[in-house]
């Protein structure tokens, strides 16, 4: 091949957290690196995964756990994830009848996360003991934080998600009909789908990813394994462009608002701009017409070292995959380090003048206060500068 690969197909799912990819395209950041990118909407995570593995997509917006659970015919990882696209940004939604039932048990359900967990778990247990249909939730894909969040919520309330919960994989755009027909009691999905349910009036957001575990990994930018060897410069440049978009997204509320407009007007997401904006600027209405506490960290793109593929987050994801049967047991360290390519992140950060964490792992879920991690950056004079990256509290609600 002559010269580096400049024409690329990159997949995205029509969700708020595709914003770093879409803004890298729309703001001309890919163009600045001479990249000619075609963004291709993906309707199915399984298809995006398969298109990556056969090389029909060069990169894609992807559920982080999928990268750890996808291997080739020799059992080697088929994907790699050198850049995290987003932290949190998802919602757990219940039908209005289920919410009414929860309120009877726990008047603070929907407001206090522990009350929500107790109410949901209580109902799940009661249904199972009655021998009738189980409490049934929809998720977009099994290898997802959406499922892990739901399982943690029920477990902490005292239910066993393996026996007390029925699951169905249902695309978010169909959840309204499933809820209306009583085929589902709720669902767990990325924004804008929680806000969509609330603004359409068929659901109530009872928990966000942020409520359950602030700043945990959600989506990544996945590449086919070996892309970094075949097209090192291209991969570096794609990452640099996306990182610049993430910095831009996290630098002001007005940028988030502008992004919501572009995601909708550009035809990337089919929801009304008001619905998309709620999640992106962190003004999520949980009940229709309720007053909400703004939360700028409802979804995070760059702050708190968000882009770095922390091995400690990868370990946790791998453990969750193991406990839900999607990954074989055993030590996951090697698997995580082969897929969560911190070395490639550092290269891209260095080339962009952005700081990178010095260690591959961080203490997880132990902080009630702001904290910091050691970092380095390439100074403008070409020397390495030691500094810190500011981090936010990351305590999980059940701990």
């Amino acid at each position: 091949m002559s010269g580096p690969k400049r024409q690329l197909s990159i997949g995205y799912a029509p969700l708020n957290d595709a914003a770093p990819l879409i803004m890298a395209h729309e703001l001309g950041l890919f163009g600045e690196f001479g990249l000619d990118v075609r963004l291709q909407r993906q309707s199915s995570w399984a298809t995006a995964r398969d298109l990556l593995t056969i090389g029909a997509l060069d990169a894609s917006h992807m559920l982080a756990p999928v990268t750890l659970a996808t291997h080739d015919e020799h059992g080697d990882p088929a994907l790699c994830a050198p850049l995290v696209l987003s932290l949190c940004g998802n919602s757990i939604v219940v039908s209005r009848p289920l919410f009414a039932e929860m309120l009877k048990i726990e008047p603070q359900a929907g407001v206090d996360i522990h009350a929500t967990a107790r109410a949901l778990a209580g109902i799940a247990r009661t249904k199972r003991n009655a021998g009738g249909p189980l409490l049934k939730f929809g998720v977009v894909f099994r290898q997802s934080n959406h499922l892990f969040d739901l399982r943690r919520l029920l477990r902490s309330g005292g239910a066993d998600p393996d026996t007390d919960l029925a699951l169905a994989v249902v695309p978010p755009q169909e959840t309204e009909r499933f809820l209306e027909q009583g085929l589902l009691d709720g669902f767990s999905a990325g924004e804008p789908w929680g806000s969509h349910a609330v603004s359409r009036g068929f659901g109530v957001i009872v928990a966000s990813g942020k409520d359950l575990w602030p700043n945990r990994i959600d989506k990544v930018l996945a590449f086919p394994a070996g892309f970094e060897i075949r097209h090192p410069e291209t991969m570096l440049n794609v990452m640099q462009a996306v990182m610049a978009a993430s910095v831009w997204l996290d630098s002001s509320e007005s940028n988030r608002r502008a992004a919501a407009g572009i995601l909708v007007d550009g035809g990337y997401i089919d929801s009304p701009v008001d619905t998309v904006q709620r999640g992106l600027v962190g003004r999520v209405e949980r009940l229709a017409n309720s007053i909400t506490q703004p939360d700028v960290d409802y979804v995070v793109f760059h702050r708190y070292g968000a882009g770095f593929p922390w091995h400690s987050q990868g370990h946790w994801l791998a453990k969750e995959l193991q406990s839900s049967g999607a990954l074989q047991g055993g030590d996951v360290s090697e698997l995580v380090s082969r897929i969560f390519r911190t070395d490639l992140y550092r290269k891209a950060a260095e080339a962009s003048g952005l700081p990178w964490p010095r260690h591959d792992a961080k203490p997880e879920a132990q902080h009630d206060q702001n904290w910091q991690v050691q970092a380095r950056r390439l100074g403008s004079d070409g020397t390495l500068v030691d500094e810190y990256i500011a981090m936010a509290p990351d305590r999980r609600f059940e701990d």
């Binding site: 703001l27 075609r38 298809t47 977009v140 940028n255």
Partner: protein, 202 residues
């Protein structure tokens, strides 16, 4: 004696679905049912207990179908029929060919390979006729128009402000970032303003 193959087709595109059905009708011993979404899949899968599910790759219902592997049959009377992805029965190249055309399939594990192949040949051919998703094609056309606009605006800046190509592009990109608007929109306005100011030679 061969029993009819029970085939479930999941595709939201009415026209493509009907054409595939028409092509399959010419085949004997195929009993096909079509649905267009996940709700349809859920309503049918236990009752119909298909031997093979053909699903459009670019439809959200595919994730639901992938998750139903082996479940439908087990629920309908206890006879467990493990279901596998197409790639586990056909060669990687054949499965890839179908996927590139926009279709994939799930089959019961013991289904005759010749029948799988015959159905997939028809499906792949039909999907190929329909080509890429209109949405992605429309985007490609818009992107092409945008690229031309950006090139012209860049040329204008280079000429008017004596900038090299990189500097001109950076200026436009910085304006897009500062204003929170697509770079193509910035460029369009610049060209429109230039036309008003009488610089119509570009």
């Amino acid at each position: 004696m061969t029993v009819p193959l029970k085939l479930l087709i999941v595709d939201p595109d009415d026209e493509r679905r009907d054409r595939l059905l028409a092509a399959l009708k010419r085949e004997t011993l195929i009993h096909a049912i079509v649905v267009n979404d996940t709700l349809g899949v859920h309503a049918l899968v236990d009752e119909f207990d298909p031997d093979m599910v053909i699903v459009a790759a670019q439809t959200a219902a595919r994730d639901s179908v992938e998750d139903l592997r082996g479940l439908g049959a087990a629920a309908s009377g206890g006879k467990s029929r493990p279901v596998v992805m197409l790639v586990e029965r056909l060669s990687a190249a054949e499965a890839e060919d179908a996927l590139r055309a926009g279709v994939t399939a799930y089959v019961v594990e013991d289904l005759d390979l010749a029948r799988i192949r015959r159905v997939m040949d028809l499906a792949t051919a039909q999907f190929r006729v329909f080509g890429e998703l209109r949405r992605n094609l429309d985007r490609a056309h818009a992107d092409l128009a945008d690229r031309k606009t950006i090139e012209r605006a860049k040329g204008l800046l280079m000429k008017r402000r004596q900038l090299d190509e990189d500097a001109a592009y950076k200026l436009l990109r910085a304006a897009a970032m500062n204003q929170g608007r697509p770079i193509a929109a910035i460029c369009k306005e610049l060209l429109a303003a230039e036309a008003l100011l009488g610089g119509g030679d570009l």
